[in-house]
Each structure stands twice: as structure tokens, then as C-alpha cells.
């Protein structure tokens, strides 16, 4: 069984700083890490490989330095790493990224065997959109299972997978047919420590590096900034509000009076809410 894990190298958000003067994000010197959610996807993929046999390929799109993340994934125990890197991809939003990754996944299928499962993390910590995984699934016509908390069953003979998906108000148990795209939730497993042999392989394996052309991606208008309808107009650090929180002394108030006071304060500031509430409570 061939499993591909799509991952992203992201700035370590715990160490990002905002420039004291210009208020812009200082990227210089900020260490990069593998998007933490992707690690759950990678570990889950390796567990399936260990149980059912096969190979795990990790795929990332990014600048040449993203190779560090791939090498790290190899150290954890992935079998193969593919880096999709090209200046045409610079400035990609989620639409263009899913286009490029879908192209690379098709190429990976031709070169190294068609993947039965494509994993991604539930989202990245820098973009936070959770759109790329579903985007890939749509483009490659894969069934998709998002926010998966557990792989309950995998039947390779019947080409069926059953998962537990965390949803509001409970857990959904879903089954579908392979090939499938799975986005993994955090906390579902714990990344292993690779063996010395894994470390050796990581130090010595050549990372497969593809340009757009190498990956067979021909329509460059769908790539990078050109293929990205999203426009980042401004990045800024929110400043503290001048207005202080208003405190309501509660000591002498009954519960009713307290509720009255709080609602009064809210309605005074947000008059629209009062109208909505009234309509709601009168059932209109």
C-alpha cells in the first residue's frame, strides 16, 4: 500500500515576533517546523504502513529550505520525500496550492505507485484554513474524510476504510472506499522516535526535488500568485483597545437585577441584538 502525507513547513508560531516599530511580522530568524497537525497525519500513515506493509511518501511544496522538514520526516521513519519547488509557486493561496499538490500527487502515482490514502493535517498553523486537503480531494476525485480522530478499520481487500470523525455534538463513524483523502485531528497519536537506521536513511536519502515542469504541471496560470484569487491586503498586530472593560458591581444585586444590568449594558452598546432577541423570543 502506498500512502502519501502532504505536509507544510511553517514558521514556529510560538517564536514569531512583531517588529516594535513597523508592526509587521518579523520572519527573519524565526525557526521553521513541520506543521504540528501534519505530524499526526505522518504518524498515522506510518502506523498503517507498519501494520499493512507498503511505503510512506511525504510531499511538500515550498522553497528549497523546506527540504529540512522533509529530512526530518525521513528521520521519523518516512520512506521517501518529494519536494515540489519552483518560483512559479511563490505566493500560492489554498486554491493554487491544492492545484500544484494535486499535480504532484498524480505524478507520484505514476512514478512510485498510486496512493491508496493521502493524509494531511487538519489545517496549518500559519494559514489556518483547512482548505488544501479538501481541495486536493476534489481535484483528484478522492473520497474525503476530514477531522478524523481515529482510523477504526482498513480493509485493503475490500478497499474500504472506516474512521471516527469528531463533529459538533459527538463522533461520527464514517466508511468509504479507497482511494481516500484523510485530514487528521491533533492528539490522535504520538510521533515516534526514529531508529538509528531511520536517522541514517534521512541523512543519506536524496530528496526527490521537482519543479513545476518535472511534476508535469503545465498550466502555470493556475499556480502561484497568478493562480491565487486571495489577496492579503494587510498584515497587522491588533492593538489594545483604548476603551477599558466596564465593570458592574455585583455585591448588592439579586440574580434578576444582575441579569437585568448585564443585558442592559449589552443592549446599550449593541442595540441590534435587542431587536433580534425580541423577535427570537416571540418566535418570529
Amino acid at each position: 500500500m502506498h500512502i502519501v502525507v502532504c505536509m507544510k513547513q511553517v514558521p514556529d508560531s510560538a517564536q514569531i515576533r512583531v517588529h516594535p516599530v513597523t508592526n509587521t511580522i518579523m520572519r527573519q530568524g524565526v525557526p521553521t517546523i513541520i506543521n504540528p497537525y501534519d505530524l499526526f497525519a505522518l504518524e498515522e500513515a506510518m502506523r498503517l504502513r507498519d501494520r499493512f506493509g507498503g511505503e510512506v511518501t511525504v510531499l511538500t511544496m515550498g522553497p528549497p529550505m523546506a527540504e529540512d522538514s522533509l529530512r526530518k520526516a525521513l528521520t521519523f521513519g518516512a520512506d521517501r520525500a518529494v519536494l515540489l519547488t519552483d518560483r512559479f509557486f511563490a505566493g500560492s493561496d489554498t486554491l493554487a496550492t491544492s492545484y500544484a499538490l494535486a499535480g504532484a500527487l498524480a505524478k507520484i502515482g505514476e512514478e512510485f505507485g498510486k496512493p491508496s490514502i493521502v493524509f494531511t493535517g487538519k489545517q496549518t498553523i500559519d494559514g489556518d484554513t483547512a482548505q488544501v486537503g479538501p481541495g486536493i480531494a476534489k481535484r483528484l476525485r478522492l473520497n474525503q474524510l476530514t477531522y478524523v480522530a481515529r482510523i477504526a478499520e482498513l480493509d485493503l481487500a475490500a478497499e474500504e476504510i472506516t474512521v471516527e470523525r469528531r463533529a459538533e455534538g459527538g463522533v461520527q463513524v464514517l466508511s468509504t472506499r479507497l482511494p481516500v483523502l484523510v485530514t487528521m485531528l491533533e492528539g490522535t497519536n504520538e510521533m515516534r522516535r526514529g531508529t538509528l537506521e531511520d536517522a541514517f536513511r534521512a541523512a543519506r536519502t536524496q530528496v526527490v526535488t521537482w519543479s513545476a515542469a518535472d511534476a508535469g504541471i503545465t498550466d502555470l496560470t493556475k499556480c502561484g500568485l497568478r493562480g491565487s484569487p486571495t489577496i492579503v491586503k494587510k498584515v497587522f498586530a491588533p492593538s489594545a483597545r483604548a476603551e477599558k472593560a466596564h465593570q458592574i458591581p455585583t455585591a448588592d444585586l439579586s440574580f434578576e437585577a444582575l441579569a437585568e444590568a448585564v443585558m442592559g449594558e449589552i443592549f446599550a452598546r449593541q442595540p441590534a441584538i435587542e431587536g433580534d432577541l425580541m423577535r427570537f423570543s416571540s418566535g418570529q
Binding site: R17, L196, A199, F200, A203
Partner: protein
Amino acid sequence: MIKERFDAIVVGAGPSGNAAAYTMAKEGLKVLQLERGEYPGSKNVQGAILYANALEKIIPDFREDAPLERHIIEQRLWTMDDASHVGMHYRSEDFNEEKPNRYTIIRAQFDKWFSRKVREAGVTLLCETTVTQLLRDTNGKIIGVRTDRGGGTAFADVVILGEGVNGLVGQRSGLRPELNPDSVALAVKEMHFLPREVIESRFNLKGNEGVVIEAMGTITAGMTGTGFLYTNQESISVGIGCIVSDFADNGTSPYALLEALKNHPSIKPLLANSECKEYAAHLIPEGGYYSIPELYGDGWLVVGDAGQFVNAVHREGSNLAMTTGRIAGETVVWLKRRRDEMSKANLAEYKRRLDETFVMKDLRKYKKIPDFLHGNKQVFGLYPKLFTDAAQTWFRVDGTDKRTKENEIFKSFRKGRTLPGLIGDAFKLARAWR
């Protein structure tokens, strides 16, 4: 188990380990390097100053792509009391040379660069891999290492320990004693972010020129130690360190000393409006010549901080590390070429070669200094105060005639330390310095 056999295993990817690994790989040896940090430099802390000469002997054209901050054109040596400092400054246009002699560097970046060179030379580097034990054959010869990774043993003809000041692997394997708190300093430092232009105007610099301040005095609260301030391109490194046993006796915490140093009226304006970007702490082996452990044995060599190779008087360490690493590497290459065994008798060549370098010559020259400084705390408390008071008496114009001022200064020295005390200190220092 890794079945592959290596010519050498290097433990650690700091300056000494990198120098050793690079030197051997360049000569075609098969080298495995093991580093416990996430990446080379992630565990390393230094002020930091790079002395070009030691690196030039390993990578002659390092200036082309090494991440260097500023080349040093001005050295300030300060003696401080709580309110003032007396300083000796040396600044020279001669330091604006084509191949500058000293640079400030940021170790996390520099070590990454050095490691890249090492890997390009053909070394297999494994990070996040801690050596837990040295493996011996039945004769007691070191033949490999055990690591904390699954299936984790690897074998080689020789193991070079560039594992840093703590020397835990050597200690666990009985090659060296535990660190002595009298011969190791604990230093803390902070990196303060400031715009380039601000640093340049504050320190009277242009381009990549840099300033180094080394300071001693009441800033160490009577303990044996020094403080420092180095200019980087867009940050200032400021730190202070004292002997560990002094901290224990004194009950002062390192960060309290650093806080006081940063708020000293001579330092505070230099750091004004800066943003602290990171803080770090590290041990520095400062025991000098007498604290050097066994440096070689059957199948093993010790390089860098693990061999206590630091010249505390001149604040030199990384150059000693690189030099000992290079010479260890050269020795192994030499033995390999002669098809000699990596036995204790043959590896003694390493020590013989080291004896011919500035490393052992300087450490031997200053062998009595650590004891002198440890046993004569007046150097760090009383004398700085006497010097700064004398300077104030001398420079303040208040109607007192100069002869009276001179007498006041002499009297303060006699009263502070007595005449025999002064003569004794001068004599002891001269003897230790010789």
C-alpha cells in the same frame, strides 16, 4: 545496529567536533558525526567572538559565505564599581583590513554554516541522537558508541569526543572525572535587538565595524568572573559569568547579576530601547592547564571544551576548540595513512602536536592564574573600587591641590589593602602571569 564501519565517530557538532570531522572527511576518511541537539548550534551558547586564524587553517576562504556579524575594530576593557568604570580602549583603523582578525558571530547561525561545510565534505551527520555509552572490546579499547535511538550502535576505529564542557559521555565511560565546580564558570547572556543605525551611532561605527567590551569589578559581587557586551549587526549580546562554586558560596543568582549589569549606568544607555530577543546560559571550563583531563587513550581522543581548552584570561575558547579538533583530525588521518592502529601509544601523537601549538603553550603559561584569581577575590571587588575612586579623585576639580590628591589616592590603596598586601598581590600576579 549499523553494520557499516566508520574510520571515525565524532561526538558533537560544535566548533571542535566540526573541525575534527571536516579535517578527516576532507582527507577521504569515512566519518560519522552525532549531535544531540535538533540541529548543530541549537545547544551551543557563546558570546560570541570568532577568531579568524583558527578557522582559516580549516576553511581558508570561510569569509566568502560564513554568517559573520561585525569585525572588531575596538576593544574596551573596563574596571567597574557600582557607579563608574575606568576603561582602557583600543581602536584601530588597522583592524579594517581585507581579512579581519576577529568577528562577532551568532552561534546558532554560524554552527549551521560550519555544519553544512562538514556535510559537504562527506560527513554523515545525525542530529537528535545522543551518545549514551562508549563501546569497548575485550581489551578495553573503545570501538564504537551506543546511542539513545532504537538499534543504536555504530562502530569505528576511533571516537573523538567533542561533546562539550560537561563531558558526560567521557565521564560515564570512566575516561574523566566529574566537573569540579571550582574550575567551571556559569555564564548567562541576552541578545538585545536594536536597529543597525542605532548600534552604529551608539558605538561610533560604520558598516560592519564592531566593538567589544570586557568588564570586571563589583559587577560580579566579589566573585571570580567577568561581564561582556558585544555588538552584532542588529543586536547586542550582553552577559556575565562567574565560577560555579562562587555562585554556590555567595548565594547570588546569575540572572540577578545580569539584571544589575544591564542597569549599570555605564551599560544601560547602550541597551536603551532594545528588545530582548533571547536569553541563554552555559558552562565554561575555566580551570586552565591543571584541569585538563586525559586527552587520549585506546581508540579515543578528546577535543574542545570537553578537554577544558579555554583560555579564560584572554576570553578565548572557540579558537582552541577548532585548533584541537583540527589537530585531532590531522593526527587520525596521519595514523590512518601509515596504517597504524588507533592505540593509546599512537594517539599520543595528538598531545605531542598540541604541545607545539599556542593552545598548550598559552594554557601552560597561565596555569597558575585560575588559582590566583580564585584565591584573591580582591582583584574583583577591592581593586576595581580603588581604581575608580582614584580616577574620581584625580579628575574632580574641587580646589584641592594635586599633591594632596596624590596622597589621598596612595592612602586609599594602603588603607584598602596595606602596603605588604599590595606588594604581595603584585608579586603573586607577576608569578602567575609568567
